[in-house]
């Protein structure tokens, strides 16, 4: 199992290093709760480990010859009072690829980005809300419900 993880990590790093020269299609950022949908990704078992997580999702341009690359970076932990940071920040980084699909649970024509992460048995789905905003879907393609502090909407980073 450890060997598999090492293999995927190396492939992921090589993949990212190959595509980093190309200009991203878009970088989406945002902060979400540490909901059940992402806990397995981050290996979180204890509720008290993670109050919220900051996301940075880099989508590289669609390419006809190779899978379109993705880089996903999480910074997470317990919020530090009166700041936007964490008491003890932890982070995780994933590589993968993305494809464009159609349809959410309620909107069959909606544009959906499917992000496949290497090394973990997980696809993430995002519905395109506008050119500048996307929102995470659950596995049934419903919009993920946030809490009173954070949501699952991500905005295009300002250059």
């Amino acid at each position: 199992m450890k060997n598999y993880l090492k293999y995927f990590a190396i492939v992921g790093i090589l993949f990212i290093s190959c595509v980093q020269d190309s200009k991203p299609f878009a970088v989406f950022v945002g902060s979400s709760p540490c909901g059940n949908i992402i806990k397995p990704l981050l290996g979180i078992k204890d509720e008290n480990e993670c109050e919220f997580t900051k996301w940075s999702l880099t989508l590289y341009p669609q390419n006809t010859n190779a899978p379109s690359a993705v880089k996903l970076v999480y910074r997470y932990g317990i919020g530090k009072p009166n700041t936007s940071g964490f008491v003890d920040e932890r982070n995780a980084e994933f590589a993968g690829h993305w494809t464009i699909q159609k349809g959410t649970q309620t909107k069959p024509e909606a544009t959906v980005y499917q992000v496949t992460l290497y090394g973990v048995d997980k696809n993430l789905l995002f519905v395109k809300l506008s050119d500048k905003a996307i929102h995470l879907l659950d596995s049934q393609r419903n919009l993920m419900i946030g809490n009173s502090g954070h949501s699952y909407t991500f905005s295009k980073a300002k250059p």
Binding site: V29, G30, S31, P33, G35, N36, I37, K54, S56, S84, T104, Q105, T106, K107, L129, S130, K132, A133, H135, D138, S139, Q140, N142, L143, M144, I145, G146, N147, S148, G149, H150, S151, Y152, T153, F154, S155, K156, A157, K158
Partner: protein
């Protein structure tokens, strides 16, 4: 023996249900508000969220300090319990701390980019109408006056999420 089997099956089912409650992939969170929140057939939904500040202030024509970076919102949408027609709403939030915003709400169709989109319009006397895009039953997005989705930042966006009342203790 049969009774033991029945008890065992009942326990297994109970444990499974509890596991789903606690580990659901996607379900409304319980509100963090300490205030009593309304419930009943006349409540369409209760939505809460923290949103970015400057863009929303501009849309709602509110003056805020340049340091303002987040706003806090709690929205209760009421309906006719028999017909489910929209009725009143109560909006508590950063721009309405002195006077809670109250009014009526209606449903219209069409945003700037989607002619089929469902939009909630929150009216109030002498104030800007607030437009909220219905993402689905559980998630709403603030729109600008041209019915475009607002763009957030690394910390906050312009989304309201359905929340549930705390279970009775």
């Amino acid at each position: 023996m049969r009774n033991i089997a029945l008890i065992f099956i009942t326990l297994m089912v109970f444990c499974e249900v509890r596991a789903q409650e606690n580990g659901a992939e996607n379900a409304p969170y319980v509100t963090t508000s300490s205030k009593p929140i309304p419930a009943g057939k006349n409540v369409y939904g209760i939505f809460e969220g923290r949103c970015a500040c400057q863009e929303l202030a501009q849309v709602l024509k509110k003056e805020v300090s340049p340091d303002c970076f987040k706003t806090k919102w709690g929205l209760v949408l009421y309906q006719n319990p028999d017909t489910q027609a929209t009725t009143n709403y109560v909006l508590e939030g950063s721009f309405y701390r002195q006077a809670i915003r109250k009014g009526t709400w209606t449903i219209s169709q069409g945003s700037q980019t989607d002619a089929e989109a469902v939009v909630f319009e929150l009216q109030a006397d002498n104030q800007q109408t607030i437009f909220l895009l219905k993402g689905d039953d559980n998630v709403l997005f603030f729109l600008d006056q041209n019915k475009n989705i607002l763009t957030g930042n690394e910390l906050f966006n312009y989304t309201l999420n359905r929340v549930e009342k705390k279970p009775a203790e």
